[in-house]
Amino acid sequence: MIAVIHALWLRELKRYMRSRVQIVAALGQPVLYLLALGFGLGPVFQKAGEGNYIQFVAPGIIAMTVLFSSVFSGMGLLWDRQFGFLRETLVAPVPRIQIMFGRTLGAATVATCQGMLVAVIAFLAGFRVSSPVALLAGIGVVLLIALLFSALGTAVGSALENMQGFQIVMNFVVMPLFFLSGALFPLTNLPLAMNIATRLDPFAYGVDALRTVLIGVTHFGLALDLAVLFVGTVILLWIGSRLFARIQV
């Protein structure tokens, strides 16, 4: 059982390490957000009495990188469908839940690596964490976020039949998750509708958890954040495994 999960996890990692161009390309967006927004909105943020915007936004951008990368890697299933490797995995005498777990763990690991690269860039841009322990806790939270959204990616990838649905998922699922999360702005004093929307966004709890452990600022409280991430992961893994088991090619 472990051997199969390990083999599929390793496969995701190898594919990631071999696509250097993609790694760099995928860094473009977070770096732009970090620098343009970080330095662009910094003065306004400061004047509003909220403190250093780079400090505030860096955890949000790291979380964003993890969100995009997880969903993207999870949906790598669609590429496997396109290029045929999915067939090889689906005829293998391995419970499909193991295949789904291996892929999801691999996708989560890849997303965590990508998030850590952005953390390094944030450090170069002036972002500082309170202690080395905070950094370790941050990696733990990043892994949780990565697991949750890799499971989402795998679930969505299992339900879709081709790449056409990808753009719809990005625009109507992933982008709203991101923009309603408080990655870019504080969640305090929001209009009611926005307040409700942010509370319903599981990614908001991920961003909040990361901000809590990295810079000690919290909105929902770490206990609630971790509970949502954990329960969300379990639910999505369950849904994902059901959908994955139903795949026909």
Binding site: A3, K14, R15, R18, F83, R87, A92, Q248
Partner: protein, 276 residues
């Protein structure tokens, strides 16, 4: 396992009243056949006859609309994973991971099929050498030519020894050397390990040479089945190719005579479908 049909034959593949529809198109229309242990059985038929759809259902990739499928006595619908342990397959379409090396593709297959590491390493080197890929084992597969990819697919299928081997048009795009190697290997495992082989092909000569029994499938139905000689005798022809043409030709005539009403119904459904 398997039910004993006559004195010596143990049934390994048992297909009963299999049906698969894709919206209004019936790809496989109520077919039944059995394949005995150690037999080489070929599905011959034109494009779109339902060959690949049948193989997909037999290999648990597609769920049938009705009918039953058993391999080695196990029902595919109730215990697909137990069935998957018993077969190997060479797909018609590519199924390699292009981002991995040839060796890594073999390794991951070995892990899937629980091949012990030592045997995996030995078999991998034997097979890659046999199919002329040993020097390229560390190369990323997406850089391979079409023929090399095809050879790797075939080498991979022989890494584990299944009870049943499915070959879906395995020689498509292969050079004569590789074709020859493939059939030698198929015959070898068939004889020494009693592996049952189910293959589909367009090539009469291959079916004639390799298969002990042949089913001719057309329009989702089995037009005839038997040994090459039986098919020739049945149609009064002197070669399998002539018999095949006689059979697939006549079945088309039969269908257009019998099913004009069905075709009208299908048209009606199609229009109904469009309105929604």
């Amino acid at each position: 396992m398997g039910e004993v049909l006559s004195a010596m034959i143990v049934v390994v593949i048992e297909v009963q009243n299999l049906v698969k529809r894709f919206s209004t198109f019936t790809a496989v229309n109520d077919i039944s056949f059995t394949v005995g242990k150690g037999e080489i059985f070929a599905f011959l038929g034109p494009n779109g006859a339902g060959k690949s759809t049948t193989i997909k259902m037999l290999t648990t990739l597609l769920r049938p609309d009705s009918g039953s499928l058993r391999i080695d006595g196990i029902d595919l619908a109730t215990d697909p994973n137990e069935v998957r342990k018993r077969f190997g397959i060479v797909f018609q379409d590519p199924s390699l991971d292009g981002e991995l090396t040839a060796e890594e593709n073999m390794d991951i297959h070995g892990v899937f099929y629980h091949v012990p590491t030592k045997i995996r390493v030995e078999r991998t080197s034997e097979l890659l050498k046999l199919f002329g890929l040993w020097e390229k084992r560390k190369d990323i597969v997406k850089m391979f030519s079409g023929g090399m990819k095809r050879r790797l697919e075939i080498a991979r299928a022989f890494l584990h020894t299944p009870k049943v081997l499915f070959l879906d048009e395995p020689t498509l795009g292969l050079d004569p050397q590789t074709r020859n190697q493939l059939w030698t290997l198929v015959k070898q495992i068939n004889e020494t390990d009693q592996v049952t082989v189910f293959l589909t092909t367009h090539y009469m000569d291959e079916a004639d040479k390799v298969a002990q029994r042949i089913a001719i499938i057309d329009g989702g139905k089995i037009a005839a089945q038997g040994t090459s000689q039986e098919l020739q005798a049945q149609t009064g022809k002197t070669s399998l190719e002539e018999a095949y043409l006689a059979l697939t030709g006549s079945s088309i005539r039969d269908e257009s005579a019998n099913t004009s009403a069905d075709q009208l119904k299908q048209m009606a459904k199609l229009w109904g479908g469009n309105r929604r």
